[in-house]
């Protein structure tokens, strides 16, 4: 019945790769196996995540108890950046900048999309590996190199980049304007240029693999939604990352070779600079042409993972598969024409503001459709509350909460008074930060058995989820209110405005919630690393899932399937499908794997 059964045991033509002995170096370090590369991405991403979150805790402490002395500042930042244990304004800005950069690019782009695209694309479409294992390896090592350079910039004497993660020039171009715009900024730009190269190599590989290497019977409409999400994410990445690269290159030119792409009419430290005719607004356009699609590069993989995890754990097909695919495509298309909503008050023509308001609010429609479809998928399900499922439901919750405030920010009129306030911080942390992190966690809990052949502890997973869920709302919900009250972001302290004095208590609450939430991530880390070595051995298909990756053996082998690659006969969501008689299609089993041919009398749904 199954495709594996009728595969000849020694199919040498198809079954290559696991004959030759692998050395430690080819297996664990310069591996070309997509599963190992996925693990490398994940662990690098987690380490960057630890650093990024730790930074946020440092500056949250400063915001709650401004200009107080803390031993932790002295220990971590040293005398130069925290004289007498009081954080200096420069390092505050540096922490904010590097936190943003690390979380957006290194954790949520590489750590999330890199990990799961690599792990799942070949496994779920039925391929032996990526189209080019070598490019895939190069992609990871470029990512690793860019991470090292980014971290190295923390130890530069004049400090790391301090101009915000958006690095708007002239601030980012002029070391005279802020010390971090010296060597720190150079390293930031070099690191990001390498990162972009890594991301492009990865994305091209994903696209080629999905288009060419699908197994027999795996039509595009039978792809699991994870693959659709990764595929479309890769396309947006290829379209938009090069634009950031060009912005970075032009900025490097302005900084080092005296060109004037972004600089004009500047008088600083008693001197007029020779730059003439450039415009910082041009940089903003180029930056956000990537910057906005980047939000979806971060979010779509998380939504894809959620679709898969929710369907599996609800024991129900995802509701509205075609609508889900259409929403992903619509979001991807719209995401490239909405960047201007970051620039309503940048000085660009107000008419452009109107256009971007229009396109921005349009993007709410596919997002709404996705949310409703998730909710309907839960309806009348048989929900298995595994930790991955909890994080997926949590994602839908934060995606709605954060997405709704986007209606305010996307409206050019309303943006006038909440632009760059804490309202924005609350909005994007919920909708892309927390949501994407939940997607990452959902993916890790769900596919851990596939990655490491062992199970993570579910009870620790429950503790992790519930404390995080409450904590995340505790951090970001109150933030909306101080934002709408006019409190600007990126302020080292608010004490210079007595008007803001009575918001101080809110900042303390936010910081306490942030510290608790950050601490509970240690439970996750412990669970993660402990389970790699001591977790309970996993069975082949622990979640009773339909997709192809669960038909591979628990032990990893190069080439994924021993013998022939299975053919696919149905879509990925035949959960709880019943025949005419009201019985499950396969008696006593509420799922039908994609490799199971249609049963007698069964109709394939024309989804």
């Amino acid at each position: 019945m199954s495709a594996i059964a009728n595969a000849p045991a020694h199919d040498h033509h198809d079954d290559h790769g696991h004959h030759h002995k692998e050395t430690f170096i080819t297996k664990y370090i310069f591996s070309q196996d997509h599963k190992m590369i996925a693990k490398q991405y994940l662990i690098t991403g987690l380490i960057m995540g630890i650093i990024g979150i730790a930074m946020s805790i440092l500056f949250r402490i400063q915001l709650a108890w401004p200009e107080q002395s803390f031993w932790v500042f002295e220990a971590l930042l040293g005398d130069r950046w925290a004289p007498d244990g009081v954080m200096s304004p420069s390092i505050y800005l540096a922490l904010v900048t590097i936190h943003g950069t690390i979380m957006v690019f290194f954790v949520l782009t590489a750590g999330l999309s890199g990990t799961f695209s690599n792990l799942l694309i070949p496994l779920q479409i039925g391929a032996r590996d990526m189209a080019s294992g070598f490019l895939n390896m190069v992609s990871y090592w470029l990512f690793f190199l860019s991470s090292v350079i980014m971290l190295a910039s923390l130890f530069v004497e004049s400090g790391p980049a301090m101009a915000g993660w958006t690095i708007y020039p002239p601030l980012s171009a002029l070391p005279e304007a802020i010390s971090g715009s010296g060597t720190g900024m150079t390293l930031w730009l070099v690191s990001m240029a390498i990162f972009i190269a890594s991301s492009l190599l990865g994305s091209l590989n994903y696209i080629v693999t999905v288009i060419n290497l699908r197994t027999e019977g795996m039509s595009m409409t039978r792809l699991p939604l994870t693959i659709w999400a990764f595929f479309v994410t890769a396309i947006i990445g290829v379209v938009s990352f090069p634009v950031l690269l060009s912005a970075a290159l032009l900025l490097i030119m302005d900084r080092s070779f005296g060109t004037s792409f972004f600089l004009s009419d500047i008088f600083i430290k008693g001197e007029v600079l020779s730059h003439q005719g450039g415009s910082p607004v041009l940089f903003e356009h180029l930056f956000w042409f990537l910057g906005h699609p980047e939000v979806y590069i971060v979010l779509l993989p998380a939504l894809g993972i959620t679709s898969e995890v929710i369907a599996t754990n609800s024991r129900k097909p995802i509701f509205g598969y075609r609508a889900m695919v259409a929403s992903i495509l619509a979001i991807a298309f719209l995401s490239t024409i909405v960047w201007g909503h970051h620039m309503f008050i940048s000085g660009m023509n107000p008419f452009l503001g109107s256009v971007f308001t229009f396109t921005t609010l349009l993007i709410a429609i596919p997002s709404a459709v996705k949310s409703f479809n998730y909710i309907t998928t839960l309806w009348k399900g048989n929900l298995q509350m595994n930790p991955g499922m909890l994080f997926s439901i949590g994602l839908v919750s934060t995606f709605i909460t954060g997405g709704l405030t986007g209606i305010i920010l996307g409206d050019s009129t309303l943006d006038i008074n909440v632009h760059d306030t804490y309202f924005v911080v609350a909005h994007f942390h919920l909708v892309m930060g927390i949501s994407a992190l939940y997607g990452l966690f959902a993916g890790v809990y769900h596919w851990f058995p596939k990655m490491f052949g062992r199970m993570m502890n579910k009870n620790l997973g429950y503790v992790h989820f519930w404390v995080t869920a409450v904590g995340a709302y505790g951090v970001f919900f109150p933030m909306h209110f101080i934002g709408i009250a006019g409190l600007p972001r990126r302020y080292y302290t608010n004490t210079n405005f007595p008007y803001f004095d009575d918001y101080a208590d809110v900042n303390v609450i936010i910081t306490v919630a942030a510290i608790i939430t950050a601490l509970v991530q240690l439970v996750f880390l412990y669970n993660f690393f402990n389970s790699i070595f001591f977790g309970k051995k996993a069975v082949q298909n622990p979640w009773k899932s339909n997709t192809l990756e669960w038909t591979t053996p628990v032990e990893h082998i190069h080439g994924n399937w021993p013998g022939k690659i299975p053919a696919v006969y149905r879509w990925a969501y035949d959960y709880s499908k019943t025949g005419e008689d009201g019985e499950y299609v396969i008696k006593g089993q509420d799922f039908v794997s994609q490799i199971t041919p249609l049963q007698e009398g069964e109709e394939e749904l024309n989804h």
Partner: protein, 386 residues
């Protein structure tokens, strides 16, 4: 040393956690379910927690609106601000309505359909009618919001030149603001950073006769009820001129002149006397009093009691003292305004004065931090050295 201690403590904590988990494992009965896959008990407890969680979301929402809702800015002090607030309240009302319903459904379903061994899920993959409904509803609502928003937007942004607004330049530099009034001719003299020299800190072109009667000040005064058109110019990096009380904001871009216009409608005096502001100032002063008690205990200088003034602040990261780049704004009656403006020296006279006695003092533009907040200046002075 501290680092070492921290590492030891962390290591010990890790060991403790490991040992506890071991004890936990050992204490489990051998027939216990160790598959690490959710069973009916987990489904039940987490389902109930889902219900509790949505109640938590509702509680935190109500609490925040109750406790922090009062933080919303006072009545808008500009003509277009009323429209802005209406649109804001409509949007907030709408999204809170959707939020309450969708979060309720999401978590209620998670609770209601929590898995049981005996339960069968419904195979329900598609329903075109339903999907059409929840595509079309957002389309209609958003179309309404977009149209409403766009009308307001063009009202605000398209400045009516026929009203003959008073032209004022707002000049930004690290880390302070200046205002330049265009004088009798209501036309600003040409300016460029290349003209910056000596007392001419804003780089006004001395040969341009329109600049003669311009008046450069450190505190922004506005006549109530009169349309004002602000022209923004930056000396060094990006800044953003944020007038929260007037629902106005515009980036200040080096190499480019940006603009924003509004009509102030509430004088500083009126705003101070408003019920909102009386409460607000009282609550701020309560906080400051409490803080003063601590400061006295530590033997440090105390904070002054607070009196409300409008302010303009920088809202685009611009350097290390970004957090303290502000300018006081005073809205007053036209007579008071004219009297005040009369006293200010014109640009022409300032240049003449400085040329007469050999240049005495060249104040570099950077060190100007002359706003009246008592506690800020030391901090900035320290920072500038870095």
């Amino acid at each position: 040393m501290t680092v070492f201690l921290v590492i030891i403590v962390l290591a010990l904590l890790a060991v403790t956690g490991w040992q506890i988990s071991k004890i936990f494992q050992l204490s489990q009965r051998s027939d216990a379910d160790t598959s690490q896959i959710a069973n009916d008990k987990d489904n039940k407890s987490n389902g109930i927690l889902m219900l509790a969680f949505v109640i938590f979301i509702y509680v935190i929402t109500v609490y925040c609106f109750w406790e922090y809702g009062r933080f919303y800015l006072p009545e808008a002090a500009s003509e277009h601000g009323g429209e802005y607030d209406t649109l804001m309240f409509i949007s907030i009302g709408l999204i809170m309505f959707v939020q309450i319903i969708t979060q309720g459904l999401l978590h209620y379903f998670a609770f209601k359909y929590k898995g049981k061994k005996t339960q069968k899920a419904l195979f329900y993959a598609d329903n075109d009618k339903l999907e059409f409904i929840w595509t079309i509803i957002p389309v209609i609502t958003l179309a309404g919001l977009i149209i409403y928003g766009l009308f307001t937007w063009s009202d605000i942004m398209n400045i009516n030149e026929e009203e003959d607004p008073m032209v004022i330049e707002i000049y930004a530099y690290q880390f302070d603001w200046r205002a330049r009034y265009s004088g009798e001719d209501n036309t600003l003299g040409k300016a460029n950073v290349r003209f910056i020299e000596g007392v001419n800190q804003l780089g006004v072109d001395e040969s341009d006769s329109y600049g003669e009667d311009d008046k450069i000040v450190t505190e922004l005064h506005l006549p109530v009820g009169k349309p004002v058109l602000f022209k923004f110019r930056s000396q060094d990096v990006l800044h953003s001129a944020y007038f929260p009380f007037f629902r106005a904001q515009m980036n200040v871009v080096p190499g480019m002149i940006t603009q924003f216009g509004f009509t102030p409608t509430i004088t500083t005096e009126e705003m101070r006397a408003s019920e909102y502001m009386v409460d607000k100032v009282e609550s701020v002063n309560d906080v400051r009093k409490e803080r003063n008690e601590d400061l006295i205990a530590q033997g440090e200088p105390t904070l002054d009691s607070y009196e409300f003034d409008y302010f303009l602040l920088c809202n685009k990261i611009c350097g290390q003292a970004h957090y303290n780049m502000q300018m006081k704004i005073i809205v007053e009656s036209e007579e008071d305004f004219n009297a005040w403006l009369e006293e200010q020296p014109t640009f022409g006279s300032t240049i003449e004065d400085s040329n007469a006695p050999a240049e005495t003092e060249e104040a570099p533009a950077e060190d100007g931090n002359e706003t009246e907040e008592p506690q800020e200046s030391e901090a900035v002075a320290v920072l500038d050295k870095e």
